[in-house]
């Protein structure tokens, strides 16, 4: 089939970018979207043009590298699917397809469709972990964890850190990403001792990075390749509210203020 692509091209973070039109034909419905771009890039290279830069690695929907806004939908039209697992059979002959990078102040464009998502790493660094230095762990079965809790934790832990939630959110909010990690660790007994600290520090970091707030538009949940529920955001809000009124919460803040 034939498609008309309108792809965002931008040479560098500073440079101004624009949408450039490319016509591609003999696209096979069994190609993945990224393979379609590979083919385009092969052609551009042959024509002595600079190929389109886009992030990708595993091409199995798990590493979270791929990150394309396709026709105004993060990761494209197929629900619960990362860009790399989107196949061309989701498009029809003659379609025009807009391909844009994630857009957010916290995700500056590096080149073409590649953006800097290190803000998400910094949110994790702020508290998205359980302090368990290597060595001291007790036997894995000493603390039983109800299957339901383990399963719910796994649902939230499935986040691949792609940032589609931010891209899709009208407020460019990273609430779903942050909430999924808070929920994952907050549901497990091992996560309790640090829970208050974790919630406060991750949320404060999220604000610091310049993400928007959550108005519950629900776009993030639809865009999420792992279909993580916005219930996690409600949970994060409650946990943050609780943490803020508790004394140990205040202490976390004090600690931050003093350094």
């Amino acid at each position: 089939m034939k498609l008309t692509l309108r792809i965002w091209r931008q040479d560098s973070p500073a440079a101004a970018g624009r949408l450039v039109r490319y016509d591609v034909d003999d696209v096979s419905p069994d190609m993945s979207f990224l393979e379609m771009l590979d083919v385009l890039n092969e052609r551009l290279t042959a024509e002595g043009q600079v190929p389109v830069a886009f992030d990708h690695d595993c091409r199995e929907g798990i590493c979270g590298a791929c990150s394309l806004m396709i026709n105004g939908v993060a990761h494209g039209p197929m629900r619960g699917t990362a860009t790399c697992q989107l196949h061309m059979r989701s498009f029809r002959d003659g379609d025009t397809v807009f391909v844009e990078p994630w857009r957010a102040r916290a995700f500056p464009v590096i080149r073409d469709l590649v953006v800097d998502r290190s803000a998400l790493d910094r949110i994790i660094a702020a508290g998205g972990y359980i302090t368990a230095p290597t060595g001291g762990a007790q036997d894995g079965n000493t603390v039983p964890i109800p299957k339901q809790d383990a399963d719910d934790a796994m649902d939230a832990a499935a986040c691949i850190g792609c940032g589609a939630c931010v891209a899709a959110c009208p407020n460019a909010s990273a609430s779903l990403f942050t909430a999924s990690k808070i929920t994952h660790l907050g549901l497990l007994p091992q996560g309790q001792p640090e829970h208050v600290r974790r919630v406060i520090r991750m949320v404060d970091q999220m604000d610091l990075e310049g993400f928007g707030n959550c108005t519950f538009h629900g776009e993030c949940q639809e865009a999420c390749p792992k279909l993580i529920s916005i219930d996690t955001i409600a949970r994060m809000n409650r946990d943050y509210l609780r943490a803020s009124v508790r004394r140990d919460g205040a202490r976390v803040r004090g600690a931050e203020a003093t350094g």
Binding site: D11, D57, R59, I124, P133, T134
Partner: protein
């Protein structure tokens, strides 16, 4: 420089070697650790766990990866699970049995002492991961669940849905991020190591290219850890992530680190078959599917009927037929080869007829589709997304694909290569899997190496070597930087007519045919004479657009493919030298009457470690003899 291989295996009974060794190793006092800098290249299971643990101990750590975040390392893609000899299921498992299975599964080409240590450490790994909040599958009682996996007769595999690698890596990544926040680790993502720097014969630094700005910089350290993963992408099409490469270990090899068993590659039996020539990678369907799926092809050649139209008595469940006791769970190399045989006989299925069925009809009637959905739901969805076929109704089509590389840089018991100070962890080293890796053992090895082995042995190295201070201004570093900038300039200067990928595809096909599932002396010789010609054409006619002062993905690929073009040759040399069949290395000249791998323990019970001898000169072979005191050498049989 002539290398001799000192494995440095501690004395004493195998059960006590590691404990004893830990006691005998020298320590660096806590106060002094912050004076040492360790460079960790790689943020996968091995790299992230090593970097985090070393930083926790107080060393200064710099960690590098080429992805935009350490969390995206290829380990994230591991699906099936991780082994540990916990024997929670009380089904007769033990450290010794895991050790035994791994040595035997590796077809007696691994080092007993290392494998035993691995089995011992497997216990602590699970505990560590649970403590970090890895949401392993649980039973209703709240205890950890297990499944049996990839040719094991006990249920010793721990798993987190079909995303075990992801969850384990996130655990290590979170520990890493914590140490980054505490200032213990400096993380440099989007940076690719392009040279190893030796000073007075010791590994003292690396040269990396910042993939965003193109800046080439030197980094100085007291020890270097390479945890850069496997090189299965030498086949172009593999289950590995697109970025997985051999560059780091290859450049180290050219600096003097011996490369062990390069030809030991694993072909995974259950991958989604190739759909077209635009295909960019192959997707693995977790092996756990073989617990409930039955593998078959039509009895009749070129039978083009749809699966459900083929009656039972015209189906050949070839694994169950050939290997009654293991059936569909036969080890990977065996299952893959069996699939190759039947497709070579022209009984393959699917358009390309490069595929065999993996059929769940029987399991669905036995267990009900809900149970199946519970077990494999996300894998079935993945399959349907890619192939547009619903495995609940029509059988999956699968075919073997390049998946894992047992070969890698040679390391001693301390995971140190033949270059003092250069340690190698995870898939990048050759250590524990011999000629074939058992399912769910790579995650185990990566984490054992990172959390528990290098974290201890590096201290010993630092405590026992007096290292002069060095600075990046030194000639050794300047020289290495020039090498890097020169080669980038060279790539960009060629301006030929062919893309990097086209060369990679050509090489991949050649390797798949001649150095893949079945290898022959003749085929390997043909490859050995083709590869240099492809390489020559590459350097004459490749087209790398753009500049070196910006994000340039074509340039990144070019560097990696250039290294694959050299590695491929070494793989074939190694495959040709090893005139036996063992594990994933199958030489058609060496098989039993009924087509099984035929080892030659007299001549080949050794590790083949190759030393770089310089441009255009044949590499020098060093042999590390392997002794089997605890697992008697037997012909592997899964009948």
């Amino acid at each position: 420089m002539s290398t001799e291989l000192r494995a440095g295996i501690p004395a004493g009974p195998i059960e006590q070697k590691w404990d004893r060794h830990r006691f005998e190793m020298k320590l660096v006092s806590p106060a002094n650790r912050r004076r040492y800098t360790v460079l960790v290249v790689g943020s996968g299971l091995a790299g992230a766990s090593a970097a985090a643990t070393l930083a926790e101990q107080g060393y200064r750590v710099k960690c590098f990866c080429f992805q935009d975040s350490p969390r995206r390392a290829h380990s994230i893609a591991a699906q099936g699970g991780i082994n540990a000899a916990k024997n929670y299921q009380n089904d007769g498992d033990s450290v010794h049995r895991l050790f035994y299975d791994t040595v035997k599964g590796g077809d007696f080409r691994a080092r007993e002492a290392n494998v035993y240590r691995l089995s011992q450490l497997s216990l602590g790994i699970i505990d560590q991961c649970v403590a970090q909040g890895v949401p392993f599958a649980r039973e209703y009682g709240g205890l950890l669940a297990n499944r049996s996996f990839g040719g094991a007769q006990v249920a010793r595999t721990f798993y987190a849905r079909g995303q075990t690698g992801q969850q384990l890596l996130l655990g290590a990544y979170q520990a890493l991020e914590r140490m980054i926040a505490l200032g213990g680790v400096e993380m440099l993502p989007r940076s690719e190591m392009l040279e190893l720097v030796l000073v007075d014969g010791h590994a003292r630094g690396i040269v990396v290219r910042d993939l965003v700005t193109g800046a080439v910089t030197s980094h100085v350290g007291d020890a270097v850890v390479l945890a850069t993963g496997g090189y299965a992408n030498v086949f172009y099409l593999s289950t590995n992530a697109k970025g997985s490469n051999t560059t780091a270990i290859w450049r180290a090899y050219k600096k003097g680190a011996a490369f062990a068993n390069p030809c030991f590659t694993q072909i995974h039996p259950t991958c989604i078959p190739v759909a077209g020539e635009y295909q960019s990678k192959l997707t693995l369907m977790s092996e756990s599917l073989r617990n409930d799926g039955r593998v078959w092809v039509p009895r009749r050649k070129g039978d083009r009927r749809r699966a459900k139209e083929i009656p039972e008595d015209e189906r050949d469940y070839f694994l169950e037929r050939k290997y009654p006791s293991f059936g569909n769970l036969a080890p990977r190399d065996i299952a893959s080869r069996a699939a190759k045989e039947v497709t070579d006989e022209g009984r393959g299925v699917g358009e390309s007829s490069r595929g065999v069925y993996l059929d769940f009809a029987e399991a669905i009637t036995r267990l009900g589709s809900d149970r199946i959905r519970e077990r494999y739901g996300n894998l079935f969805e993945m399959y349907e997304r890619i192939t547009d076929e619903n495995p609940y109704q029509v059988p999956m089509r699968i075919f073997p694909a390049a998946h894992y590389t047992m070969g890698g840089l040679w390391v001693d018991y301390n995971l140190m290569s033949t270059i003092p100070g250069l340690h190698v962890a995870g898939e990048a080293n050759f250590s524990d899997h011999g000629a074939n890796r058992l399912g769910a053992s790579a995650l185990m090895q990566g984490l054992a190496d990172g959390y528990f082995v290098v974290a201890n042995t590096i201290g010993h190295y630092l405590a026992t070597n007096r290292l002069a201070p060095v600075d990046p201004g030194q000639p050794e570093f300047r020289a290495a930087e020039t090498v890097v900038t020169e080669s980038t300039k060279r790539f960009l200067g060629i301006a030929g007519s062919r893309t990097v990928d086209s060369f990679h595809r050509e090489l991949g096909l050649l390797m798949w045919d001649k150095c893949g599932m079945a290898r022959s002396a003749e085929g390997l010789r043909q490859a050995l004479e083709r590869i240099p010609r492809i390489r020559e054409e590459f350097w004459r006619d490749v087209n790398v657009p753009g500049s070196d002062a910006e994000l340039n993905q074509a340039l990144e690929k070019a560097g990696r493919v250039a290294d694959y073009l050299e590695l491929a040759e070494l793989m074939c040399i190694d495959a040709l030298h090893r005139e036996e069949s063992c594990g994933g290395h199958f030489r058609v000249e060496h098989q039993t009457p009924d087509g099984e791998a035929l080892r030659d323990d007299e001549r080949f019970a050794h590790v083949a470690a190759w030393e770089y001898a310089g441009e255009g000169r044949p590499p020098v072979l060093h042999k590390e003899p392997l002794a089997f005191e605890y697992v008697p050498l037997t012909q592997r049989s899964y009948k």
